[in-house]
Structures are given as structure tokens and as C-alpha cells.
Point group: C2
């Protein structure tokens, strides 16, 4: 049973959610309470569309780019249908420490499903998950993590899974901040999404996360509808059950939307080269390069996690959200690198 | 060289474009010149949104459904974001006889590339293609067709391929009608697309055809932007060429968007169950079933090719656009079946 359930899972599965050692390498810094909202710094007489962004080079680069591509008659004017902006999710639109939130979901789901699987009490990696022993889970390596993904993300219909994700998001809290996970979206990025849309951009998520997991909150949290969420996908099996069509989630990977998979997915699903791309890790590098290689005006931006007080500080050495080659490429390419500590007045939407 | 070029092509490749025997089984009926546009039959005082549709059960079913889901306060009202309509392309939005137009493109492209491949003069299936001997091509079976697809749809970047497709569409003519292929879209379906969009629907193509081929005309011909075109895809390779990112088309299949692949692609890329679906063949059956199994109001429609005079007449026995199980399912499910002969005043947009 266990073996057939896992048949077909490839090594790539792990790339969706986890890097081995991520839990062991988790930083201990919890996000502190966000500061009281400060003055927006808006120019008099006009509402500031980016009130949580400090004045400075990053903010100026964003607004200058938007002005360039929206100025009718200007040499860099971009027609509406071509104003495509793509955003990574984990670490770019919401936090990703001490582990990808989707992995927290998977671990919680093991616990929720345990009563239906009495054998798990004696069977790794489930035994360790149920005992709260993350080091024990990790001792099983990639295979253990893949087994967890398979047992928590498959075997039910797509619509059942949507319900499970939404119920989890409505109840689970982040272990350090005590916030709901959807409260750990970045306020400055919410403003940026709205600012771009107000300027005619169509905003997409292009993330290594599971597409059906992200759709559980993307519309409500970001205003991004399901058809503009691109992510990693599992294989689906069409079935007629008493004459009604359902799609059953299989424990096999269809596509891993990470690294070079990101521009490939953008091409397959959007079919236009974006003119603006936003990421935070080396997994976003190819997407930012693809965007930066466009023939017209373009904008590539990295969010750099520099704020150990209000969020977390990590980059080149992190096992989650590693930003190493990307930092070098950003410097070489003149891309914008946002320092969360310096450029953002606040991190999360609401004070606790 | 030949073998490495073909490595990784799966049997599924053939499903994208062709069914073996399609050329041999091609019907001889050419589309006749469309009739002079007749009276629109519009209700007095209001422009008819479907002037090429005859009054009758098919037209009434369409307009009644749209009225139901757009009547605010009605029990079947559907909010705007959920008004998703999906359309097959070949045989549903444009013609598909005597062979899928994308196959005509592939054969023409063999001829265009021949000067760069002197060896093709002595090498099947290219030798037969170049001699105009379609029976000789077919004698090579699926393998021959896959070799043609691989040699004509890969080995160049996505942007180069877009240019090739557009140049072909601007010059090639249909062998029987003498029309440009994009003139062989169905006028009543153009009106239907516009009518649905005017009623708040978001219209998608979901077709077995190659996604990059269809995007070469979908926006101009149908008003459907690239990000709303879902099709079969090939694998792409990300490359940096002198610092510029390109995507190289590989001769390997990523996903075949046909039969049960259609609802799976809809789930992966749209993420909502459509409320209206339009097809013409058994390849669309699962998409129509998926739509018809939705919890709310829904509409499934088959275009039935019944007009041997103005277009072609084919269904259960055809090797292209076979409609057999689908007809039975439509009867059983009470779906709308459009008779092109009886329900449509005209087939193509412009009289010759």
C-alpha cells in the first residue's frame, strides 16, 4: 500500500515545498509586532499609493518605471495587454520562515489524518511528525518529505482539497508570531500589487508552491484570481463518480515551477514575456532574467530579507529562500534590491 | 542526429495534431461560398448579438442560459469572476478539414526548411512530404508524423516560432476554399464569443492544438489574449545567449491537452470549474462532462458538422473530429447540439 501510493513520485517533488535541512536550519527570530502605522509621506493633495514604502531608491525605481511604461506618447509606453507583472509567493508576498507555510500545512495534515492511519504511530516519517520530532523527520531525507507530501496532498478530489486548505488557513497559527498565516503577507507588497493594477498591470503569481494550495488564499489575500496563479502541479485523474466528473489528486508531480521552470511556465500559461518580475531567492533568478531580457522596458526586483527585528534576516547561507547567485545577478544587471529593513515602514498589515 | 533529435518524443505527440489516416480519410467537400448575409432577425429596437444564428432551440438554449446566470437576484445568478467559458478550437471555432490546419502548417514548414536539409530528399517521411505524396507520409505511421512535428515545431526559440507561425498564417491558403486559414473561423461562434464577453464571461480556448501555434492568431481572430489560450505544450529549455534569456523549443511533449487532459488543464491553469463549455468532438467530452458536473448552473454544447454544402458533414465515422460517444452523452445529458446546417445562417465571416 505504502509503495503503490508513492509510486511515480519523483525526486522533483521535494523541490515544491522543501529543501532538506530547512527545519534544522530554521532561524530563531520571530517577527516582532509591526510598528504603529506612521505618516504616509504622501505628496499633499494626492493619496500615496505606496504608504508603507520609505522614500528612497527602491521606491523611486518602482514609480519611475511605472511612469515610463504608462506615459502615453512616450518612447517606453507599453500597451495595456502587455503590462504583465509576475510575483513569486514565498518570501516575496508572504513570509517563509522558519519553514515554507505549505510544509507547516502538510505536517498539520499528517496529525489530522492520523486517526485514519493507526499504522503511522509506528511508521516513519509519520511517527516523528506525530511526536513533534522534526529532526527525526529530517533523518528520513527527501524520501520522508516526499512521503509526507504524497500522503497529505493526494488521494482526494481537487474540490475536497480546496476545502481542506481553506479550513487550515482559517485555524492554524504561525508558531512564532501567533498570527494566522494569511496575516503574514507583506503590506508593502499588497500596496505594490494594487499600485500596478491601478496602472493597468495584470498581476500573476509564479511560484514553486503548489498551485491549489496558493489558490486557497490568493484571491482574498492578494486580489489575484485563480487563473492568475501559476505554481507547481500534481497529476490529476479524471473520474466519473455516479455520473459526476471529479478530478482526483495523484501523488505524482506534473510540473515543478521553480528556477528554469518559471520562465517555461510563464511561456506556457501566460504566453507573453512579463515586463516586471518580483522575487526573493535564487529560485526566481531565471524568471527575473527572462523578464530582464525583454526587448522593451522591463523591471526586475529582489526583496532582500534584511530585517531580523521585524521579520527575518537571511540570504546567501539560508536553506530556505537562499539568495546568492541572484544577489550577484542583481548587482550586475542593475536590478532593484529592496532592503526590508530600510525600505519598508512596516512588514505585515495589522499590528497585533 | 536524427535519433537524438527525436529522443524523448512520446506516442502522445501524435495526439496533438493528427490521427493516423486522417489525410487518407479526408472528405472531398469544400466549403461553398457563404450565403449573402440575411436579415438579422433582431428584435425591434435592439441589436441582435447573434445575427448569424437562426431562431430555434439551439439559439434559445444559449440565450436562456445567459439570461439565467446574469439575472441579479435570480436563484441561478453567477458572480462575474465565476463566469468562465471554455472553447475547443479545431472544428469548434474554426474548420479542421481536410486536415488540422496545424498539420498543414507542419507540412508547409517541411518544404520551407528543405533547402537547409538536402538529406531530406532521400529520407522518409520528408521525401514523401516534398513530393506531395501524403499516402507515402502516412505509410510511415505515427513515427513519421512525430518526426514531422519534431522537425517543424522545435529547435528554435519561442519568439522565432511565433514569427514563423504568423508569417505562415499571412500567406498560406486553404487548399479547397482558397481562403486564408484565419478566414475559416466560424462567424456564429465569433458572435457567441462576443455575446458571452458582453455578459461578463471570461472566454478561454482549451484545445489539443499546440498553444504557441494557436496564439499566433487567437487574439486577432477571436479576441482571446494569449494568457487565455490553453493547449498542448512542448518542453522548453531556458538558455542565456550572450547574456540574454531565451526559451528553446524542444522536440519533447510536456502536456497533451486532449480528452481527460482538458479538465486537468482547466484545473491546473484556470482553477475554477467552467460554467459553459463548447466542443465538437469526442476529444472534448471530458471537458463538457466536467462542466456539466458543476454544482451550479452550467451549459455544455456540441457543434455538429452537418453541412456538406457550406462546410463539411462528419461525425461518428470521421478520423478527424470524430463525434461518437459525445453525441450519445449529449443526448443522455440534454446538452445542446448545434446543427451547422440548420442553426447557422452563415459559416464563415466574409463572402468570397
Amino acid at each position: 500500500m505504502k509503495c503503490s501510493f508513492l509510486r511515480g513520485i519523483t525526486v522533483a517533488a521535494a523541490a515544491i515545498l522543501v529543501s532538506v535541512g530547512s527545519l534544522a536550519g530554521a532561524q530563531g527570530n520571530a517577527p516582532a509586532a509591526p510598528p504603529t502605522p506612521s505618516s504616509t509621506g504622501a505628496p499633499s493633495g494626492k493619496a500615496d499609493p505606496l504608504p508603507s514604502w520609505n522614500r528612497g531608491a527602491s521606491r523611486d525605481a518602482i514609480t519611475a518605471f511605472v511612469k515610463r511604461v504608462t506615459t502615453r506618447g512616450g518612447k517606453d509606453f507599453v500597451p495595456l495587454p502587455e503590462r504583465i507583472a509576475v510575483f513569486d509567493n514565498d518570501g516575496t508576498l508572504w513570509a517563509e520562515q522558519p519553514m515554507y507555510f505549505q510544509l507547516a500545512f502538510a505536517l498539520d495534515r499528517v496529525k489530522a489524518l492520523a486517526p485514519q492511519h493507526p499504522e503511522w504511530k509506528a511508521q516513519e516519517p509519520f511517527k516523528s511528525v506525530l511526536a513533534g520530532d522534526l529532526k527525526g523527520v529530517l533523518a528520513g531525507g527527501e524520501r520522508a518529505l516526499m512521503e509526507i507530501i504524497a500522503s497529505t496532498h493526494a488521494g482526494i478530489t481537487t474540490e475536497e482539497f480546496e476545502g481542506v486548505v481553506k479550513a487550515w488557513l482559517a485555524s492554524a497559527k504561525h508558531p512564532k508570531s501567533g498570527l494566522f498565516y494569511t496575516q503574514m503577507v507583506y503590506q508593502p507588497m499588497l500596496e505594490l500589487l494594487g499600485y500596478l493594477r491601478a496602472n493597468g498591470f495584470k498581476t500573476f503569481i509564479v511560484s514553486g508552491g503548489g498551485v491549489e494550495f496558493m489558490r486557497g488564499f490568493a484571491e482574498k489575500a492578494y486580489g489575484i484570481p485563480p487563473e492568475q496563479v501559476i505554481g507547481s502541479t500534481g497529476k490529476l485523474k479524471f473520474e466519473l463518480r455516479e455520473g459526476k466528473a471529479v478530478l482526483l489528486k495523484l501523488p505524482e508531480i506534473q510540473f515543478v515551477d521553480d528556477k528554469a521552470g518559471k520562465p517555461a511556465a510563464i511561456q506556457a500559461q501566460i504566453g507573453r514575456r512579463p515586463i516586471a518580475a518580483f522575487g526573493n531567492s535564487d529560485g526566481d533568478l531565471e524568471m527575473l532574467q527572462w523578464t530582464a531580457s525583454g526587448p522593451g522596458p522591463h523591471f526586475s526586483l529582489y526583496v532582500h530579507h534584511t530585517d531580523a527585528e521585524r521579520e527575518w534576516a537571511y540570504d546567501r547561507a539560508s536553506s530556505i529562500g537562499k539568495l546568492d547567485k541572484g544577489l550577484d545577478a542583481a548587482t550586475a544587471g542593475g536590478w532593484t534590491v529592496v532592503s526590508m529593513k530600510d525600505d519598508w515602514k512596516r512588514i505585515f498589515p495589522s499590528p497585533r
